[in-house]
Symmetry: C2
Subunit: 206 residues, 2 copies
């Protein structure tokens, strides 16, 4: 099936958003935890985490334009910290629900039924139920003027990992934590380990 540029243009807006979000493939699903200057905790799902570098350990994520409903970016700018809390099967429903447009004075933790866990390295709350979580210190926000989004880059300060195999070379079997892959705007998948391949060298191709 071939879809041309003009096919894409003639798609209805909501259809196009779902379609384009699907074809870019699986993403990891994380809840971003922040706290406002007035102390209110905030939780929002992000599926746009990218690896920027490992030394120093930088992760990036794409943030939508800041609005009243999107408190995450505002809180990150003001406090300089945020947490990433990976979503596993048992907290998927609550994670999805945290995307609802709650009032800025309302904590999504209370509304969706997840538990705040204090961190020693920042005031940004962890999701206690998450089995893989980390605190990031904001390093840079790079604007993407094309459409008003931005690339938020943070440096990892602390990590908590639940019970899963970590191989001798550092590979973490996050699928053993029940970590969910997301697809499109609202699709969720379970991932099963297939294989790892050794570092590809020219000889291997013979």
């Amino acid at each position: 099936m071939k879809i041309t540029r003009s096919d894409i243009e003639s798609m209805q807006n909501r259809f196009r958003a779902t379609f384009i979000n699907s074809i870019s493939g699986y993403k990891s699903l994380n809840l971003v935890g922040t706290r406002s200057m007035s102390g209110i905790s905030n939780l929002a799902p992000f599926n746009s985490i990218v690896h920027i570098g490992s030394n120093p350990p930088y992760l990036g994520m794409i943030a939508r334009p800041q609005t009243e409903e999107h408190q995450t970016l505002k809180n990150i700018k003001e406090t300089g910290y945020y947490t990433l809390n990976q979503v596993h099967e048992e907290i998927l429903k609550q994670a999805h629900q945290s995307s609802a447009k709650y009032d800025a004075n309302t904590s999504e933790f209370t509304e969706v039924g997840l538990t705040e866990q204090a961190s020693e390295v920042s005031k940004s709350p962890y999701v206690k139920e998450s089995l893989l979580k980390m605190t990031l210190k904001l390093v840079e926000i790079i604007p993407i003027p094309l459409n008003g989004t931005s690339l938020v880059i943070g440096e990892i300060q602390e990590i908590f990992i639940g019970d899963c195999m970590i191989e001798e070379d550092g590979y973490v079997h996050i699928e053993e934590l029940g970590s969910i892959a997301s697809l499109g705007l609202d699709g969720y998948l379970k991932a099963n380990h297939l294989t790892r391949y050794p570092y590809a060298t020219l000889k291997d191709s013979d």
Copy 2:
């Protein structure tokens, strides 16, 4: 298990790279197809595709610093086009092998045993065997001075999708194509559909 900032710093370099790449979670796996000005085709795996926007349809990816071995960024800059070719189970081994550091005068297509497919919208080659592929037109390269990487943003020009369910609202079941999720630098997972949830509203939380 708690891992502190100084634990991360004291990790051996290769261990840290594998570890940090794992904990950011599942990524989609795509082969980026380009062609040099002198006509040589190039193929390289990228697991850093992010959704930037759907109208216009923008996808981003993080590119490592340009070197002799990394021809992709050079080719994109010079020709203004590239293809994304999603990797499914049957071409996984070839896809992984394309990460080897072949000479700039060598086509990874020939070396790993994948087939070039011409496009009508650009000179960048598709991977014929891929079941979900698209051509992107370079829109912007945003430098990330922190570590010399960059965010490459392209606009989708054309899409080919194999035989899979596309729901009425535009959701594409890419797992039916056998699309692979990647983890870390060399781990591959099979994904199975779990569920989709309706758009979260405030009422749903009651």
